[in-house]
Symmetry: C2
Subunit: 262 residues, 2 copies
Amino acid sequence: MTQHVDAAYQARLDARSGKLSGPTANLAPGHVQANLAILPRALAADFLHFCQRNPKPCPLLAMSEPGDPALPELGRDIDIRTDLPRYRVWRDGELVAEPTDVRDVWRDDLVSFLIGCSFSFEEAMLQDGLPVRHIEQGRNVPMYRTNIQTHRAGVFGGSLVVSMRPLKAADAIRAVQVTSRFPAVHGAPVHLGDPAQIGIADIDTPDYGDAVEIREGEIPVFWACGVTPQSVVAAVRPEFCITHAPGHMLVTDLLNSRMAVL
Amino acid sequence: MTQHVDAAYQARLDARSGKLSGPTANLAPGHVQANLAILPRALAADFLHFCQRNPKPCPLLAMSEPGDPALPELGRDIDIRTDLPRYRVWRDGELVAEPTDVRDVWRDDLVSFLIGCSFSFEEAMLQDGLPVRHIEQGRNVPMYRTNIQTHRAGVFGGSLVVSMRPLKAADAIRAVQVTSRFPAVHGAPVHLGDPAQIGIADIDTPDYGDAVEIREGEIPVFWACGVTPQSVVAAVRPEFCITHAPGHMLVTDLLNSRMAVL
């Protein structure tokens, strides 16, 4: 008996088998991809509260049961220990490994948090005819630490990380409309225009990702970024934690179009 | 037998009796107010087409039958010849009178166009906690001719007029969301940031209305303005036409909240 395997499930199976170990951008178009943070149960309640208080950088798509590698809300047969192409393993805040599989370090007290990612709203922008410069230029999106503080929850807190896409003013207005429809994947921008107002000293030197060209007549538009939760987790230096490697996301069975509230 | 007279109808009755001859700002809160252009039938088809092609500056709420002073879609018992506090009468493009009643110049071939006005979306902004500077400062909204061309229809064409409200970036993003809900009253902004990009040489010298303060960290945000139709009509220099006097609008029975599409 055979079963239909669609592009999203295939991407997970390829990650599981080791056939896929690279970035997931452009895999399974139309499907939601997710950021991953895996924390010991002792930190999970605080982190869940942090996500609840900071939905723009941390739009939580799903949270697992402790020790359970399945995430039935996000797709069939998911094993979070194998189904991402590459992971980062952290001990006491130090990066100790970048494996393609975390079964050997799995623990019964680990809780997985899956957080919405900008790929979803970028797809909506492109479908609306809006330019996405880092995709045009074949680069990673530029990301910046800001002076905007997140709302603290327990041990978790710190500054908001934003991603930036340059747009003409009329396109920036349209991008607010288009991305407002997607609150589960960061939603509307948090700032536009002068980078210094949110504590960014040099727009050409992002803290993460790559710089992109800002053309004559364009303004930088800033969205809350899913790197924020990684940044706040890193600051806590938990005794153990696992995240996805940058750009190596969980490809889910959810459809981007179903993330739109309207 | 008595009939309930609400604030909107009362405003029209007061204009009709001559008791009200001043601006209508803040009268009958919650009710839609409308810009007026009255044109001879020979120009009406072109003007209707102009409105259809330029819905952002010319969101048409209602159009009368030729010669008929009633506008049943906009309110009960409306007589467009008497129910605005003050009019402007134009002959061959020259302003010839500013009466409080136009019954003496009425003609059987006149068609009335009622066009949405920014008061509606400003109310939504204020209810959302967003600042509206010209209201804070007790001034008229600053308006500017731009280098953005409207879409021509027959004899009507010319440049877009915009109104400007200064906002902090995060408030500008929120204002895009709030005003996008009101396409029938100008809707989302058409530009934000650098005034020179849309042909405005000096933000402190508006072409219509009053300058307002732009504070540290604020950007100018520009909406399509209902002065645009008056400006394009004036350019045509029709043999006869009537408009409202600036700020002296038709107060309708429609509710601002019912203008929201979502």
